[in-house]
Symmetry: C2
Subunit: 193 residues, 2 copies
Amino acid sequence: MQCGLSPIVGFRFSLHPMTNDFISVIKGALQETDTSNVWMHTDDVSTVIRGKQVHVFNVAKALTLHAAKTGEHVALSGTFSAGCPGDTSGDAYLDKGDNVANTDTTKQYVSSQFALYPMNNPNYMDVIYREVERAKELGVFNESMHYASGIHGDIHDVFAFYEETFTHARSEEHKHLVMTVSMSINSPSHGGL
Amino acid sequence: MQCGLSPIVGFRFSLHPMTNDFISVIKGALQETDTSNVWMHTDDVSTVIRGKQVHVFNVAKALTLHAAKTGEHVALSGTFSAGCPGDTSGDAYLDKGDNVANTDTTKQYVSSQFALYPMNNPNYMDVIYREVERAKELGVFNESMHYASGIHGDIHDVFAFYEETFTHARSEEHKHLVMTVSMSINSPSHGGL
């Protein structure tokens, strides 16, 4: 098996609106988001998007933001992946340019948690500690916890951190990287900023 | 750093009822589940339980089953972890016996997806392929997909598979194992068994 032959980034996620109208929240977010720069497929448990990193993160953020703007309590959980040796070259739109399709800058507080899994890298704990430091430097670190780190702030700052850390936590030598993200928005449990 | 000094297994998860009554569904599931065999902590994004593997899986299943029995569309997403070198020895109930506290055998169809991340193991892809074969042998395999594998069936069979695969995908030599699980129940999107 050969590792990391393509620059495909993928994100498998579920958007969970905690409301009886969950279907209309999800469909509305999909309608308001320009997903033309990514390949997308939905099944009965989750949705996967694939393409250039810049577009995968842009679409993930836009879908989340549009769902959040309904005012409903919504949660996003998902896994970003790149460089998996079992991956195929198909189902990705790598011929797209680098201009993002979604540019809504509406502010939205999000509280989230993430974990990095750099695969087949003996120094993976160093990568994790370095990226947690990056979160602190960027002002989005919330708290330490078992199995994850808390990241919060404005949705644009939080997604910018996630995209930056996903870039820096993988390398030519260690191409297979996994990052899980769990995000909560408009929750009655948030302490806020 | 030393790896895997303790037998602590952890599960950080969120339970998402897609209903306006999400708070009562979550609180009800917590009330009906005996969580006395695990350490538990909830924050504004997720809940973490820690303890012996048998109890962590038993409590995870019971919480999910009780939420499912409301008939609402509920989703579970979470990460099982063991052997993390950054883990601490605290916050775990390892002095408990092996008798599980929750024994409700009500049948419930669940559709789910999982991914295994054996850390710092050059042969991790072999582990993953072997465990997918196990799902097929046990009759819970649903379908292949990017970044995950589909697992479905009765909740008890599905959790039995997850516990078994979590046991077999780690070893004395490779102690740090992560397994993500995303589960959907009572969904209008399910094709069913």
